[in-house]
């Protein structure tokens, strides 16, 4: 592996600014790595080599001309295939959008480009972000770089796997119920779900509008903070975008947690939690204690109901958000043989274009919203949402942050949970409450269990995202260093079968 790839995004950025590295060099190194390992990993759905190298050259020229650019100018990045970016297809991992070229950019993509980041390609994901393993992608499987037989998490599995296999130093994902944190957890990288509304959703294909938020993936807390600072900020195109600014995030890295109260969520542990996950979690808590924090147990009684409420609210919004894929304006059209009606063609297109999990959730949501069931299902779930928000409010009166394992288990074998939706859904047990309340949360790598990474979740109040980074920087373990050079690592370079 090219040694340049081991540099952090912050280091790459400062070297480019100082003239000791060019964006073209690092971008080329990334593409070389992608060509070397992605046949095994399957992280990228499409690459944009020519345009990326041209953009990198343009950044280099501006730097050479003496222009002062931002800290991530010239740094290569991969984006989840959920962000509209003109010139590349956006499929959201679904066959129904095969080949769709968006005629506009998402706001966050525009912000990446304005900050001089170099977009190298689009990353695989669960279809319409529905899944915890990236196996529901309509295109390909993505493999966990720690063990190619295992899932990379999901829905942003491509983002996590590309980082863990050193293909790019940064990736951009989205989190609706854990889609950034859980893949970060099972691949040993940092993943942040920022406060809802702090990053614009405009141009980001919607899964569940009241829960979705774009967020950064990186290999360390500082890089994630830098990326988050680039993409955040009010966007008038998104009515749910917050006007309030986030506190300084990169400033928070290194400030430590001395004198803090860290609350362990009592409900997230015990039955269903792998012993290896629990022991790694306890070790990390000890580390926080050594850094001067006090660890207390906090009960959030309604978190037990979060998964149930989520699986009503999310599919309800999904059933409506995905109605537009109707074969009229974009996407594929199936069965239009000149004899069939619009209604039949819509049915056939949606039947063939959507995968099983997407159909399952559309029908679940259609049921939850339908006349006669609304109050019992959707209405009740919204009340649970209020109760979860109240649990958080009460907890944050007592503690600075709440913590838990990111996911009850480490990565599982590909295929293992595909026919057991409930088992799959439980991977998001600990991550869902933060989406329901809109507050910020992140997953940081803390150790291994049976050779697979374990993630530590930190939850902070809305607009107090800086606290995530303070805890994250304390915990930081160079976990990925231990992957490089192992037999698992060598497997990435084998010829694809």
């Amino acid at each position: 592996m090219n040694e340049l790839l081991k540099l952090s995004a912050a280091e790459i950025g400062s070297k480019i600014a100082a003239g000791s590295l060019t964006s073209v060099e690092i971008t080329k190194a990334c593409f070389e790595q992608i060509h070397a390992v992605d046949a095994q990993v399957g992280a990228f759905l499409c690459l944009d080599e020519e345009r990326a190298l041209a953009a990198a050259a343009a950044i280099d020229a501006r730097i050479a001309a003496g222009e002062k650019l931002g800290p991530l100018a010239g740094v290569p990045i991969g984006v989840k295939d959920i962000f509209c970016y003109q010139g590349l297809p956006t499929t959201c991992g679904s066959r129904i959008l095969e080949g769709w070229m968006p005629p506009y950019n998402s706001t966050v993509v525009d912000r990446l480009l304005e900050a001089g980041l170099v977009i190298v390609g689009k990353l695989n994901m669960d279809e319409f972000a529905m899944g915890s393993s990236t196996e529901t992608s309509g295109y390909q499987l993505t493999h966990n770089p720690w063990n190619l037989g295992y899932i990379p998490g999901g829905s942003s599995g491509g983002c996590a796997a590309a980082l863990a296999s050193y293909q790019v130093p940064l990736t951009l994902g989205t989190d609706t119920g854990g889609s950034i944190r859980q893949p970060a957890s099972v691949t040993g990288v940092v993943g942040v779900k920022p406060t809802y509304g702090s990053n614009s959703r405009y141009g980001v294909l919607a899964m569940a509008s009241s829960l979705d938020v774009p967020g950064p993936f990186a290999r360390n807390a500082r890089d994630a903070a830098l990326l988050q600072e680039v993409i955040s900020g009010h966007d008038p195109m998104d009515s749910t975008s917050l006007v309030s600014e986030l506190p300084g995030l990169t400033d928070a890295v290194g400030k430590g947690v001395d004198g803090w109260k860290i609350g362990v969520v009592k409900e997230f542990g015990g039955d269903g939690y792998q012993p290896g996950v629990e022991s790694a979690f306890k070790e990390a808590l000890a580390k926080c204690e050594r850094a001067g924090a006090e660890i207390v147990e906090v009960s959030c009684p309604h978190f037990d109901y979060a998964l149930a409420a989520y699986y009503l609210i999310m599919p309800s919004e999904v059933s409506s958000n995905l109605a537009r894929y109707d074969s009229v304006r974009y996407g594929i059209r199936v069965g239009d043989d000149g004899t069939r009606s619009m209604e039949e063609v819509m049915n056939l297109t949606r039947g063939a274009g959507f995968g099983e999990e997407v159909k399952r959730r559309i029908i679940l949501g259609t049921y939850a919203l339908s006349a006669g069931y609304y109050d019992a299902y959707y209405g009740s779930a919204q009340k649970v949402r209020t109760l979860i928000q109240q649990d958080f409010d009460a907890a944050f009166e007592k503690v600075d942050v709440l913590v838990s394992p990111t996911s009850p288990t480490v990565a599982w074998k590909l295929g293992e949970r595909m026919d057991d939706p409930l088992a799959m859904y439980k991977a998001d047990l600990c991550t869902i409450p933060s989406n329901m309340a809109g507050n910020s949360a992140a997953s940081f790598p803390i150790g291994l269990s049976d050779g697979l990474p374990v993630g530590f979740q930190v939850m902070a109040p809305a607009l107090a995202d800086d606290r995530l980074y303070r805890v994250g920087a304390v915990l930081e373990e160079p976990l990925l260093d231990s992957l490089v050079g192992t037999s698992a690592w060598d497997a990435l370079y084998e010829e694809a079968k």
């Binding site: 405009y202 919607a206 195109m237 009515s239 409506s320 894929y325 009229v328 919203l369 339908s370």
Partner: protein, 493 residues
């Protein structure tokens, strides 16, 4: 066509209960949820963007002006304004609906519990209003092949220029106690609503361009009963007269069904230009719209101060305005009733505003223009002559350039699209002629009618009519009869 009984027979047996849903397009510069231009027509799919095309990833953002207009409409309709309300998604699949859901309002309308007083034959009827809420319009479908209608078409084409146009839907509560006057009350209500919307300046309210659309519901129940009958909803009621005609028809049709012992079927019907309603193709089952709060938009919570400010800026209420204008114009109740009946109040007011005397304005709108509108089967305001043009015409009459008779020809010309009154006078050469040409014509007439001259000289003044007629004939009408009379008297002096 269905079996009918006479209207009198139907309303003798049953009390009609109305329900009216009026959709009006707002005339904001931009669409409801995006910055695309809000305008009628244009090359297909040129006033569109990711938002109104429902492209993946796009998000709506609310037009502030549309909210303001909606609140002003609500206030003008005596509604309460919600202190907090949300948009809701109405989910249904249809190719003209870009997102396959409509952003609308469900159980939390912005405006609710209002009323509108309307006058029919000198009596005032209060129409209770349930709600006025905001929503977006759909795109436009054209059907290709077959007869160009949806049924039997080979395929259809969609243009999303209209998609996302701001709409206000105004829904009445069941309107009871209007008896046989129901169709007239409905018409008067829609006319009054239109006048309010126009005076607020929030909508162009052109029914022929569908910027005001009405769905008319009616049911019949036996007199004295308290249980509402089964209603039908007639769509495509796109002029004031069809509101009245469609309801009259439905009352007669439902009356026939009920009197023959049948049951009225709850259904949507369509008004046919040939004067009857037909059932729409029924859907397989009742639609389940799965309404839920729009997660992409935040709630609307107008402050008391804002609402009070908008209330203070409202124009004069129509009833008050009518009374004031009647006084200012010096009209009798009967004259005023004729004006309202012909739906000419605002047209006359605008004509007076443009400089014409009230009686003159009234004369043209209720006379020649009303006749031409009826002939052409259009609403008076669509007759083809504007209030400004009528005032211009009257100015020509006042200046002696035109006689009333010539003015009627000018009106014909303007309505036929020949230009402004001045242009028509010019093109058709309709000016009143005076001077030596008239003197010559008078002299010629005296010479040619010696017996009439004798009679006048003998004191039989009525004989002058024949002389005037002869002069007017030779002048092809382009002379002022009063002036001709005067010239003759001078000559015979």
């Amino acid at each position: 066509m269905s079996e009918l009984v006479s209207y009198d027979e139907a309303v003798a047996a049953f009390e009609p209960v109305l329900g009216l849903e009026v959709h009006t397009e707002l005339n904001t510069k931009t669409k409801m949820f995006c910055g695309c231009q809000n305008s009628f027509g244009g090359e297909p799919n040129t006033h569109t963007c990711p938002v109104c095309l429902g492209l993946p990833g796009s998000l709506p953002s609310v037009n502030a002006k549309a909210i303001e207009s909606a609140i002003r409409i609500g206030l003008a309709l005596n509604c309460s304004i919600a202190s907090w309300c949300r948009f809701a998604r109405k989910n249904y699949f249809y190719p003209d609906m870009a997102k396959d859901y409509q952003i609308s309002q469900y159980d939390e309308p912005l405006c609710f519990d209002g009323y509108l007083d309307v006058e029919v034959d000198g009596e005032t009827y209060r129409v209770p209003i349930e709600r006025a809420h905001m929503e977006e319009d759909a795109g436009k479908l054209t059907h290709v092949g077959g007869s160009g209608r949806i049924q039997g078409a080979d395929y259809s084409l969609v243009d999303y220029n209209r998609a996302g146009t701001p709409l206000i839907e105004i829904v009445t509560k069941p309107v009871r106690g209007v008896g046989a006057k129901a169709p007239q009350v409905a018409k008067a209500y829609v006319a009054a609503l239109r006048d309010i919307l126009r005076s607020l300046g929030v909508s162009d309210v052109r029914m022929e361009q569908a910027s005001l659309r009405c769905d008319a519901n009616v049911s019949l129940m036996p007199w004295g009963s308290d249980e509402l009958g089964t209603r039908t909803e007639t769509k495509n009621v796109n002029s004031l007269r069809t509101v009245e005609a469609a309801l009259t028809y439905e009352i007669r049709r439902q009356g026939a069904v009920l009197l023959s012992g049948g049951k009225v079927k709850q259904e949507t019907r369509h008004w046919n230009e040939n004067g009857y309603t037909l059932p729409g193709r029924s859907k397989e089952e009742a639609e389940d719209y799965r309404y839920f709060p729009e997660p992409d938009l935040v709630p609307v919570a107008p402050s008391r101060e804002w609402v009070d400010q908008l209330r203070a800026s409202l124009p004069e209420p129509p009833a008050q305005r009518r009374a004031r204008l009647q006084g200012e114009w010096g009209l009798t109740d009967l004259e005023m009733r004729d004006i309202l009946g012909a739906d000419a109040l605002e047209l006359i007011a605008a004509t007076v505003e443009a400089g014409a005397a009230p009686q003159a304005a009234r004369k043209w709108w209720l006379g020649e223009l009303n006749r031409l509108a009826k002939e052409a089967d259009v609403e008076l305001d669509a007759v083809g002559m504007s209030p400004v043009q009528v005032a211009e015409l009257q100015a020509l009459v006042d200046a002696g350039t035109l006689t009333d008779k010539l003015a009627r020809q000018v009106i014909e010309g303007v309505v036929a699209g020949e230009g402004t009154p001045a242009e028509v006078v010019e093109k058709r050469g309709l000016k009143v002629v005076g001077g030596s040409a008239l003197d010559d014509a008078v002299a010629a007439a005296l010479e040619a009618n010696p017996s009439a001259v004798e009679s006048i000289k003998a004191g039989r003044q009525q004989a002058i009519g024949a002389l005037i007629g002869a002069v007017m004939k030779s002048m092809k009408g382009q002379a002022d009869a009063g002036q001709v009379r005067q010239l003759i008297m001078e000559k015979l002096g």
